[in-house]
Structure formats: C-alpha cells, structure tokens
C-alpha cells in the first residue's frame, strides 16, 4: 500500500483533498487504490481512496477521520 503525505496545515479537515505528489510517490498508483496518509509528524495514520490522478495531482477521499495528535 502506498503511503502519501498531505499538508494538513493547508487542507485542515477537508474530506477530499487534491495533493501534488513527487514522481516517486505516484509510481504505480492507480485510481481506486487505498493509500495510507501520513499525519503531520510523518506517521501513517489515515486511509484514503484515490479518486483521480491528473498529471502530478492526485485527488483523495479520506476513509478515516483526522486524528488529533495530543
């Protein structure tokens, strides 16, 4: 399963986000895949579904809610 990084500082609690991914992060990624998303401290903590891939942009819908770190 792919693990991706999302800038929560920018997207806050949005259930759907479109993120820019480096080429190495997009390699092998397909629409419909379930991915793990890192929290702000780099620890994978949420699942998301890949809705679309458009060039370097990948749209994700979160399956799990955001987890407060404290």
């Amino acid at each position: 399963m792919h693990t991706l990084t999302v800038d929560y500082s920018r997207y806050l609690r949005s259930p759907v986000v479109e993120v820019a991914l480096f080429a190495s992060e997009r390699a092998g990624l397909k629409v419909g895949d379930t991915v793990l998303v890192n929290g702000e401290d780099g620890i994978p903590e949420r699942r998301a579904t890949v809705l679309s891939i458009d060039g370097g942009k990948v749209k994700l819908r979160f399956i799990d809610p955001v987890r407060a770190s404290a």
Partner: protein, 160 residues
C-alpha cells in the same frame, strides 16, 4: 483546491503567526513549499510560488484555538513584524474546488509565507518540477537557506 487571494488584507505587525514544527521539520517545510508551487500559478505575477502555510491569531481566533484545531503535536510562533522582515506574507483562503467554500472557518486567518524562488526557465512549465529530479535538486538547494531562516524565526518549538 482553489487559492483565493484576500488582496487588501494586511495583518498587524504585532499579530502572532503560528506554524507546525513537527518531526523532520526542515525537509517537511521544504517539501510543502515545493508541492505548493503549481497551485500558486497566477496568484501573483510570477509563474508559481514556493509558499508555506501559516495561521495568524486574529479576528477572534487565538493561539490555543488554532493549535487545538490542527493535528499538530508541536508548533512555533513568531510575530508578523519578524516574519515580514524576511519574507512576503499573502492573505490566502483555500477553497474546496467542488463547492468553492473555505474548507474550514480558520481559513479567514490563513496566510502564505512566500519563499524566494530561483530564476529557472524550466519552472515556467506546469507539472515539471515534481517530475524532474535534476530541477528538484536545484530547487531544494536554493530553498534550503530560506527554510533555515523561516524555521529559526519560529523556534523554539512548543508542545501543545
């Protein structure tokens, strides 16, 4: 994601600005700035912008509320005055492109810190930066000292 510039908004010098300073902060900040580049094409006159997302304690939003809203363990603060001495600050609202509504009420105090970018013709082509390892290495080396400066303004890290 749609970025809207709040063009006539200038936060006061004494306002406190808050940023996430988690694990691996330098590389995280640099990656965030690079990922933002294409999203900020057309926001100002430049091709794109290397920006970092911050929030200001303004308009009834205080530091505890902002930090409590974020999934952050650690954060840093500095004043608008200190930040503006080194970087440009843009008032920006991030909109959900499906609804064109702000993704959270805190967006009314969201700002982007603009890092100076290198002059490189390759950056004029959208989508190239994330796919070109040589260009990426050039940009990372360019941004490193600016990230160091940005990070130093917000240190020491605080735990919530």
């Amino acid at each position: 994601m749609v970025v809207r510039l709040r063009e006539d908004e200038f936060p006061p010098d004494e306002a406190t600005v808050i940023v996430h300073l988690g694990a691996g902060v330098h590389d995280n900040l640099r990656d965030k700035a690079i990922r933002s580049y294409d999203d900020y094409r057309g926001i100002t006159a430049s091709a794109g912008l290397f920006v970092l997302s911050v929030y200001a304690a303004l308009k009834g939003h205080d530091v505890p509320e902002i930090v409590g809203t974020m999934p952050w363990n650690q954060y840093g603060t500095c004043s608008v005055r200190e930040l503006r001495a080194h970087f440009e600050l843009l008032a920006t609202t991030i909109l959900d492109d499906d609804t064109l509504q702000p993704v959270d009420p805190l967006q009314e105090v969201h700002y982007d810190v603009v890092l100076p970018g290198p002059e490189d013709e390759r950056l004029t082509v959208e989508g190239v930066l994330l796919d070109d390892d040589l260009l990426l290495a050039t940009v990372e080396a360019w941004l490193d000292p600016h990230i160091d400066m940005f990070q130093s303004l917000f240190e020491p890290r605080q735990r919530r």
